[in-house]
């Protein structure tokens, strides 16, 4: 199980160290601010000393500092955090070795662990856990107020080990789910032919995503004798993952050019990431499916396709996770690590994804109540989240949402049906031209 945030460890951490020397010269402002820093740090040491001498029981210095680091990082935004040495060690085994999990993306909302989306073919999804569920207990023990890191840790374990989680869904009484931890495989891109068009499903962005996408496209080409009439790229419920994979995936549909830029605090801290030349499916009509659980890397792909007028984005407004976290090991990880928000994502036209997400070109709901309560979890709902600095009144423009007709088969997929329809009924070209 991973967080919704992309694990950009390697890439971003190097970046962080590279520009931190710059930042020092830039920040060596006037002496008054340094005096203030001094005063603040003195205050901190003063308080700690008083706690050490006067607290009712002996205090462990390391625990106290860990509390301070947690408090400092969490006060910034929901995705910044301090990872203690133990958790950092586990995190490293997680990304490299085998571990057992439940297969869902979680976040916190007002201190409560909330499910962003269960992953396809995972214990969580099979058991019936849904996006938006609040997890209140693990094995009968309350996790209210527990940090996200700790909650995730508790859900992990050996594959085959059982776990009971208690979930609150809407107004219903708490529900209990018995699950068995399983190895969460790096999930691959899947392909299918649906109603005469090609269907590609990317469940998350991991190391193998592009490779398996290439294979899937090849298979589709073969299926259609080299002439794919149209492609639906399904990014619904895809919580993101690796940034470089989102750029590669975009390259499959774009012939070079900018995919995304990341910008830090200083104006000169801009990194532009471009697609490689030579797209895989040149000229093939493309519809990208997104929903409220499409986050981060998914939003990058959808945003690039939309801004570059390469295809039509259909579905519901995406999550709005447009910030980049760097994972910075402290003293080689012996003191743990920091997960710090250092940059934001921008689409090629310069739109910030943070908070607002990607608004589809054609808004289509999955079910009659989808989006109606207008309170699907999205980034801007998270306490203390970074606001979108480009948000304007325009963002408030009312969006017309298409709902499935009455009596639509509950097991059907209305969004996919609409995507296929657009590719087949000849309206694709005019619609795309309108959007330009």
């Amino acid at each position: 199980m991973k967080y919704i945030l992309p694990t950009l460890g390697a890439i971003a951490a190097t970046g962080l160290f590279a520009f931190s020397s710059v930042s020092y010269t830039a920040n060596a402002k006037d002496t008054s601010s340094r005096v203030d820093t001094f005063k603040q740090l003195e205050l901190f040491a003063d308080v700690l000393a008083r706690v050490r001498t006067e607290y009712v029981v002996d205090v462990d210095d390391a625990e106290l500092i860990e509390g301070a680091l947690n408090g400092m990082l969490q006060s910034l935004d929901p995705h910044s955090s301090y990872i203690n040495p133990e958790a950092f060690k586990r995190m490293q085994t997680t990304t490299s070795g085998e571990y057992g999990g439940l297969g869902m993306e979680v976040t916190t909302e007002s201190g409560v662990v909330k499910v962003v989306a269960p992953i396809d073919d995972s214990p969580a999804k099979d058991a019936g856990i849904k996006a938006g569920d609040y997890i209140t207990e693990i094995d009968g023990e309350s996790i209210l107020g527990v940090s996200l890191n700790e909650a995730v840790d508790r859900m992990r374990g050996k594959p085959g080990e059982p776990i009971t989680i208690t979930v609150i869904r809407g107004e219903e009484d708490p529900l209990e789910f018995d699950l068995v931890r399983a190895v969460i495989k790096s999930r691959k891109t899947k392909w299918e032919v649906k109603d005469g068009v090609g269907y590609l499903r990317i469940p998350q962005f991991n190391e193998q995503t592009y490779e398996t996408l290439e294979g899937a496209v090849k298979a589709l080409k073969k299926e259609f004798n080299g002439n794919i009439p149209g492609i639906v790229l399904d990014l619904r419920g895809n919580p993101g993952g690796l940034l470089d994979q989102s750029v590669k995936v975009s390259s499959a549909f774009l012939d070079g050019g900018e995919v995304v830029s990341t910008r830090g605090r200083r104006a000169d801290d801009v990194t532009r990431l471009s697609a490689k030349n030579g797209e895989l499916v040149k000229g093939v009509p493309l519809v990208v499916l997104i929903d409220g659980a499409s986050a981060s890397a998914s939003e990058i792909v959808a945003g690039a396709v939309q801004d570059r007028n390469r295809g039509i984005v259909l579905g519901m407004t995406s999550f709005g996770k447009g910030s980049v976290q760097a994972v910075v090991p402290l003293r080689g990880g012996r003191d743990g690590a920091l997960r710090l928000t250092t940059q934001r994502y921008y689409t090629p036209s310069g739109r910030s994804i943070q908070g607002t997400g990607i608004t589809p070109d054609i808004s289509v709901a999955a079910s009659a109540d989808d989006g109606k309560d207008n309170h699907r979890l999205s980034e801007s709902d998270l306490p203390n989240s970074i606001q979108n600095e480009l948000a304007t009144e325009d963002a408030e423009v009312e969006i017309k949402i298409e709902y499935p007709p009455e009596g639509f088969d509950e097991d059907g997929d209305y969004q996919l049906d609409r995507a296929i329809q657009i590719l087949k009924d000849g309206s694709y070209k005019t619609k795309l031209a309108e959007l330009q």
Binding site: S20, Y24, T53, E54, V56, A68
Partner: protein, 443 residues
């Protein structure tokens, strides 16, 4: 540049640390102390490093102050649920709010058939001065009809700044309606409610925060005495859902019912320094049987009075096991003009029982509601995440011994109180108390 400045930060932290006298540490422990300091310095280095990293690389500009506020808050709240850091702004705001004076009419009201009914008029209060009496109805406030409003909305309409006049329409018992202008005054509500219940005295103490509590309890006892013809056959002290409050108030109030001796003690990390709090000599109502009512929401000072009267065999404690908040927080001002709320001590009953995490176990277990899964489960201090550890094992409530109301017991009737009245009237109360005495002695 980077290394140097980081070194400076670390250095300044270390200096600041050693400039704070580490008093309380005996001289012979100095070697140990030195080792601890090295560890602390290492930790402060780490903190300074992270601080600089965050400040310089975060996606937005952030102030040093906000970062340190967050850090202090994190450090303090990692200790236990009652320790916290109040940033300068919050602290000042709180102090200002405490000084801001609201005014009221000096009445207590309930809603009856859609109208606001006056239940109690504070003697010499603004309403009393205008002849408003208990039993009057208020039908309109500033010309606006009360009918159809919730009690909260109606009361909100009556609040305002002290000194401001307000027009109310009063319907009296003799069916006459009149308009009255009342000048709002700063009102201190009653600290206690008292009444005669089935021939015995009943005092309800809502909290121990009221500055006039000590006097009000005394007045209440005297009024009950005179109402019952000069002799109290029994007294019920109700501290259910009482969240606690001031130490001086609970010592004084408990002292009314004890002839000197210890009420409670508190001690911090160094157990050799124990503060003991004593009752004054002379009881207010010697020999009068007392029952103290507690529940799972009786906390802190409420547990002190229950624990003291229980340990000293002065009262029978009835109800459910109390909350178990047996820790003392001290508010300390710091350089930032913010403040620290830090747990510094634990409370102990006269027999030396720690209250923290354990609470007070009633002598007679009585539930307010019929038996069920939810009735059994109560939320207490030890259920709080990260709560300060207890020093002894928790004694769980014995549900076999607990008295429950029957399923048909009406919701609006107080079962625990009815049991308390039964017990306080019982001729066996004295022997029950002395039997308890032996129990405690051999425990």
């Amino acid at each position: 540049m980077k290394i140097l400045s980081r070194f400076c930060l670390a250095l300044s932290l270390a200096t600041a640390l050693s400039s704070v006298p580490l008093w309380g540490a005996p001289a012979f422990a100095q070697d140990n102390q030195a080792a601890e300091d090295v560890e602390m310095r290492k930790q402060l280095d780490l903190f300074a490093e992270v601080f600089a990293m965050v400040r310089d690389n975060y996606v937005e500009d952030i102030s040093d102050e906000d970062l340190i506020d967050g850090a202090l808050n994190g450090a303090l709240s990692s200790l236990d649920p009652h320790s916290s850091y109040l940033p300068a702004e919050d602290h000042q705001e709180r102090q200002k709010n405490a000084r801001r004076e609201y005014g009221g009419l000096g009445i207590e009201v309930t809603l009856e058939s859609g109208l606001v009914k006056v239940n109690y008029v504070i003697p010499d209060g603004p309403a009393a001065k205008q002849g408003i009496k208990r039993g009057d109805f208020i039908t309109a406030v500033e010309g606006e009809k009360v009918l159809g409003k919730t009690l909260n909305d109606a009361v909100d309409g009556m609040r305002g700044l002290a000194g401001d006049p307000i027009n109310v329409t009063v319907l009296s018992a003799d069916n006459t309606t009149r308009e009255v202008t009342v000048i709002r005054e700063k009102i201190l509500g009653r600290a206690v409610r008292h009444r005669v219940e089935e021939g015995v005295g009943y005092i309800y103490i809502e909290s121990f925060n009221h500055p006039r509590l000590t006097d009000d309890v005394k007045t209440a006892v005297e009024e009950l005495k005179s109402e019952l013809g000069g002799r109290l056959p029994g007294l019920i002290i109700d501290v259910r859902s009482n969240p606690g409050g001031r130490v001086d108030q609970v010592v004084n109030v408990t002292g009314y019912f004890l002839d000197g001796g210890e009420v409670f003690s508190s001690s911090g990390r160094d157990k050799t320094f124990t503060k003991r709090y004593h009752a004054d000599q002379g009881e207010l109502i010697p020999e009068v049987p007392i029952v103290v009512l507690i529940n799972s929401q009786s906390a802190s000072a409420a547990e002190i009075i229950a624990g003291a009267l229980q340990d000293r065999n002065r009262a029978l404690v009835v109800g459910r096991r109390s909350f178990g908040k047996g820790s003392v927080q001290s508010i300390m001002n710091v350089k930032s003009e913010g403040a620290l709320r830090l747990t510094t001590e634990r409370y102990y009953t006269p027999s030396g029982r720690s209250i923290q995490g354990l609470g007070i176990m009633p002598d007679v277990l009585v539930s307010a509601r019929p038996e069920s899964e939810t009735t059994r489960k109560r939320f207490r201090e030890s259920d709080l995440k990260n709560s300060l550890g207890k020093e002894m094992d928790v004694e769980e409530e014995d549900f076999d011994a607990m008295v429950f109301p029957s399923e048909s017991w009406p919701d609006d009737e107080d079962f625990q109180l009815s049991k308390a009245i039964e017990l306080v009237k019982s001729p066996n109360l004295k022997s029950q108390l002395s039997a308890k005495n032996t129990l405690i002695r051999y425990r």
